[in-house]
C-alpha cells in the first residue's frame, strides 16, 4: 500500500519565483501517474518535493497517509531515477544497485541475490562487474532502473528517464517500463514532456502549465475531454485546431459561426449543454484527425462541410498531414487518409466530424 497525496502544495524558490502553485493530487496504490507539461512548468520541482530533495513552501505531501514534509529522503521509502541517471561512477553496476541495501544493513549474500534478480529482470546480468563509464546510454538507463527496483520502494519516481535515449530505444523502453510497472505493482510517478510517453504509459496523466495543474485523469479522458484550451492544445500531434467563433441563434437553431465565416450547426445531443451560452464568444476546437477528405468519410460521424484550400502537403506514409487555409486566411491542419491524393492549392470540401469537437469560453479558455 502506498498512496501519494499532494495537498495544496506550493513551491516558491529563494529568488521569489513560484514554480508550483496549489497542487492537489491524490494517487492510489499501484497507479502510474505521468506528470506532463511544457518545459519549466514545475514537473521536476513537484517530483523533487515528493522525493524530499526540495523543501515544500506550503501545503502537505502524504505518502501512505503519513505527512512527509519534514521527513528526509532516506526515510520516505522512495526510489528515484534521474534524467542523467546519476550512477556512482566509482562503483560497479552491482555495487550501484546494491548501495541502498548495503546502507540498510542487508547482508552481502542477500544483496547479491536481489541485485542478480533485478539484473536478470532488466537483462543486464552480464554487466554487473562493469563501471558506469563502460556502459552505453541504454545500459546506464537500465542500471539506474535496476538501482531503483532492487530496493522495492513504496513509490518509484522518475524524471525523464528516457530522454537521453534514441527514438527507437525510447519506444522499446517505454513498453518495458509499463511492463515493469505491472510486474512490481507499486506506485509510479513519472515526469516527462513527451506526450507520447504520457499517453502510452500513464494510468493517469496530470497536465501542468506554469506551475498549475490543468487536468488530471486517464490519458483517454484527458485527450478526449480536455478541461481547457491548454490541455487540448498540448496533447496530440499535430495539435488541435482552434477557431475563434460566436455561439448564436440563427433561423431558430443554435450554431457556431467562426470569425472566418464558417457556420457549423450544434448537433442535437449537445444542444442542452450549450444553449445557456448562446451569444457568447467561444473557441471551436477540432483535432486534425476529426477532419476528413470527402472521399474518405467513415460511417458514424456527423459531417459538416467546410471548403478550404490545401497549402502544404506532408506525406508521412501512414497518414498525410495537410495544412489548409480558409477563404479568410485562417490556417488549420488536417490529418487525412493517405489513400486520397491531395495536391497543393487544391480546393477541397472538407468534412468536420461534429461528434468530436470542443467548445471553449474565449475569455476563460475553459471548456463549456
Amino acid at each position: 500500500m502506498s498512496s501519494v497525496v499532494f495537498e495544496k502544495v506550493s513551491k516558491q524558490y529563494e529568488n521569489g519565483y513560484v514554480a508550483v502553485k496549489d497542487l492537489n493530487i491524490e494517487l492510489e496504490d499501484k497507479e502510474f501517474l505521468v506528470l506532463v507539461g511544457p518545459s519549466g512548468c514545475g514537473k521536476t520541482t513537484s517530483l523533487r518535493m515528493l522525493a524530499g530533495l526540495e523543501d515544500i513552501s506550503s501545503g502537505s505531501i502524504y505518502i501512505d497517509g503519513q505527512r512527509v514534509n519534514n521527513v528526509t529522503p532516506k526515510d520516505r521509502d522512495i526510489a528515484m531515477v534521474f534524467q542523467s541517471y546519476a550512477l556512482y561512477p566509482h562503483m560497479t553496476v552491482a555495487d550501484n544497485m546494491g548501495f541502498s541495501l548495503d546502507l540498510k544493513g542487508v547482508g552481502k549474500q542477500e544483496i547479491r541475490q536481489r541485485v542478480e534478480a533485478a539484473a536478470k529482470q532488466l537483462g543486464i546480468e552480464q554487466l554487473l562487474e562493469r563501471k558506469p563509464k563502460q556502459l552505453s546510454g541504454g545500459q546506464r538507463q537500465r542500471v539506474a532502473l535496476g538501482r531503483a527496483i532492487v530496493r522495492s520502494p513504496a513509490v518509484f519516481l522518475m524524471d525523464e528517464p528516457l530522454s537521453n535515449l534514441d527514438a527507437k530505444l525510447r519506444v522499446q523502453a517505454r513498453a518495458e517500463l509499463s511492463e515493469l510497472h505491472k510486474k512490481v505493482g507499486t506506485t509510479f510517478v513519472y515526469v516527462t514532456h513527451d506526450q507520447a510517453e504520457a499517453m502510452t504509459m500513464g494510468t493517469r496523466i496530470a497536465v501542468m502549465n506554469g506551475g498549475i495543474l490543468q487536468q488530471i485523469d486517464t490519458p483517454q479522458t484527458v485527450y478526449e475531454q480536455p478541461n481547457n484550451m491548454f490541455v487540448a492544445g498540448f496533447l496530440g500531434s499535430p495539435s488541435m485546431n482552434f477557431f475563434s467563433a460566436q455561439l448564436i441563434q440563427s433561423e431558430g437553431a443554435l450554431v457556431i459561426q467562426t470569425d472566418g465565416g464558417i457556420t457549423v450547426p450544434i448537433p442535437a445531443e449537445r444542444l442542452n449543454r450549450y444553449s445557456e451560452f448562446s451569444g457568447r464568444s467561444v473557441v471551436l476546437g477540432i483535432r486534425p484527425e476529426g477532419i476528413y477528405h470527402p472521399q474518405c468519410v467513415p460511417p458514424g460521424i456527423q459531417p459538416a462541410s467546410i471548403p478550404a484550400t490545401a497549402k502544404v502537403v506532408e506525406l508521412m506514409g501512414h497518414e498525410v498531414i495537410v495544412h489548409f487555409e480558409l477563404a479568410d486566411g485562417t490556417k488549420f491542419i488536417g490529418r487525412l487518409d493517405p489513400r486520397v491524393k491531395v495536391t497543393p492549392n487544391e480546393q477541397i470540401n472538407l468534412q468536420f466530424d461534429l461528434t468530436r469537437f470542443h467548445l471553449f469560453d474565449q475569455e476563460s479558455e475553459q471548456v463549456i
Binding site: I78, F82, A86, H90
Partner: protein, 328 residues
C-alpha cells in the same frame, strides 16, 4: 634612489626581457631552421626534439649532472679527496644525531600530510555551504602566498618567549600568562618544539590542500549526491562512500605534493631553531653538514638518501597521472 639601484633595476628588467623573448627567439629560429633544412617527412620526426631539446639540455646540466656528482661525492671524505666507500652512509644511518633527523622527518611527514590534507578536505566540504565562500577561501588560502622564511618570521613572534616576570611579546605566551599559566618555551622545550614547527607548515599547506580539494568536491555532480540521499545515505556516509572515493585521485595528488614538499622542508627549521634542540630535519641537516661542518661527503650522503626517499612518491604520482590520462 642612487644610481646603483637604478642600474640594478635596469639589469633585472633586461634579464626578464632577454629571458622571455630570448626563449621565444630561440624556438622561433630553431623552427625556421628545421623547416628550411629538412624535407617534410623528416620534419615531423625532428621537430619534437627541437622543442624538447633545450629543456632536456638544461635538465641535464642543472639536474642530472649535479645528481650524479652528489652521488659521487657521497662516497668521499669531508673535503672530497679520499675515497671512503659507504662510510658516510653508515654514519648517517647510525649516528644518533642523524637518526633524530629521520625521526623528525617522519613526524613531519605524517603530521603535516595527514592533518593538512584532512583539514583541507573538511574545510573544502564545509565551505561549500558557507555564504561568503570566496572570502573564506581566500583567507584560508592566504598563507600560501607567504614564503616559508616569511612565515617563519611571523611565527617567531607568535612563539616568542620571555622569562615569567618580563612582558610577553609572543601571542601564545601572552595568552598563556593572561590565563595565569607559566610562559611556555615553544621552541626550546624538546617535547613540543617539533610540533610547534610542524604547525607552521600545516598552517601554510592547509590552504593549498583546501583549494585543490574544494574544486574536486565541486566536481562531484549534485544529482549523484541526491541519488545517494534518496538511496538512504546520511551526510556522513555520503562523505565517506561517495565524495571521498570520487575525489580520491585529487586527494592522492595533493598528498604526494605535500609529501614531497615536506621531505624537502628546511627553511622553517633553519629560521626558527637552526636545527638545534632536536628539531633538525634531513634537509636542514644536509645544509649544516655541508656548510657549517664542511663535510661534503656526509652532506651528499644525506642528499642521496633524501632523493631515494622522494623517488617512490614521484613514481606513484607519475603512474597515477598516466592512468588518469588513459581514463579520460
Amino acid at each position: 634612489m642612487d644610481s646603483n639601484n637604478v642600474s640594478l633595476i635596469f639589469k633585472a628588467l633586461l634579464a626578464i626581457f632577454l629571458g622571455s623573448f630570448g626563449v621565444i627567439g630561440v624556438f622561433y629560429a630553431l623552427n625556421i631552421l628545421v623547416e628550411k633544412a629538412f624535407p617534410e617527412r623528416a620534419r615531423i620526426k625532428v621537430l619534437p626534439w627541437i622543442y624538447v631539446g633545450p629543456a632536456l639540455l638544461l635538465l641535464t646540466v642543472y639536474l642530472i649532472i649535479p645528481t650524479l656528482r652528489t652521488v659521487y661525492l657521497s662516497l668521499f671524505g669531508p673535503s672530497s679527496n679520499e675515497f671512503v666507500g659507504l662510510k658516510n652512509y653508515i654514519f648517517v644511518l647510525t649516528a644518533p644525531d642523524t637518526l633524530t633527523t629521520f625521526r623528525n622527518n617522519l613526524l613531519w611527514l605524517v603530521l603535516v600530510t595527514g592533518i593538512s590534507v584532512f583539514l583541507g578536505l573538511i574545510i573544502a566540504v564545509l565551505i561549500d555551504r558557507v555564504k561568503y565562500e570566496q572570502v573564506a577561501k581566500s583567507l584560508i588560502f592566504l598563507p600560501m602566498a607567504i614564503s616559508f622564511v616569511g612565515a617563519s618570521v611571523i611565527w617567531r613572534f607568535i612563539y616568542a618567549y620571555r622569562p615569567a616576570d618580563a612582558e610577553q611579546i609572543g601571542v601564545l605566551n601572552a595568552i598563556a600568562t593572561g590565563l595565569g599559566f607559566e610562559p611556555i618555551g615553544w621552541l626550546v622545550n624538546p617535547a613540543i618544539n617539533n610540533f610547534a614547527l610542524i604547525a607552521i607548515m600545516i598552517w601554510l599547506q592547509t590552504g593549498f590542500c583546501m583549494v585543490l580539494l574544494s574544486s574536486a568536491v565541486k566536481g562531484v555532480p549534485a544529482d549523484v549526491l541526491e541519488a545517494a540521499r534518496v538511496d538512504g545515505a546520511s551526510e556522513v556516509q555520503i562523505f565517506w562512500r561517495i565524495i571521498i572515493p570520487m575525489i580520491m585521485p585529487t586527494i592522492l595528488v595533493v598528498s604526494t605534493t605535500v609529501i614531497v614538499l615536506v621531505l624537502k622542508v628546511f627553511d622553517i627549521v633553519f629560521v626558527m631553531t637552526g636545527g638545534n634542540l632536536g628539531t633538525d630535519v634531513i634537509a636542514s641537516r644536509m645544509i649544516r653538514e655541508m656548510f657549517n661542518f664542511r663535510n661534503y661527503g656526509r652532506g651528499s650522503a644525506i642528499a642521496v638518501i633524501l632523493l631515494i626517499a622522494v623517488i617512490p612518491v614521484m613514481v606513484a604520482n607519475i603512474r597515477r597521472f598516466r592512468q588518469q590520462e588513459l581514463n579520460r
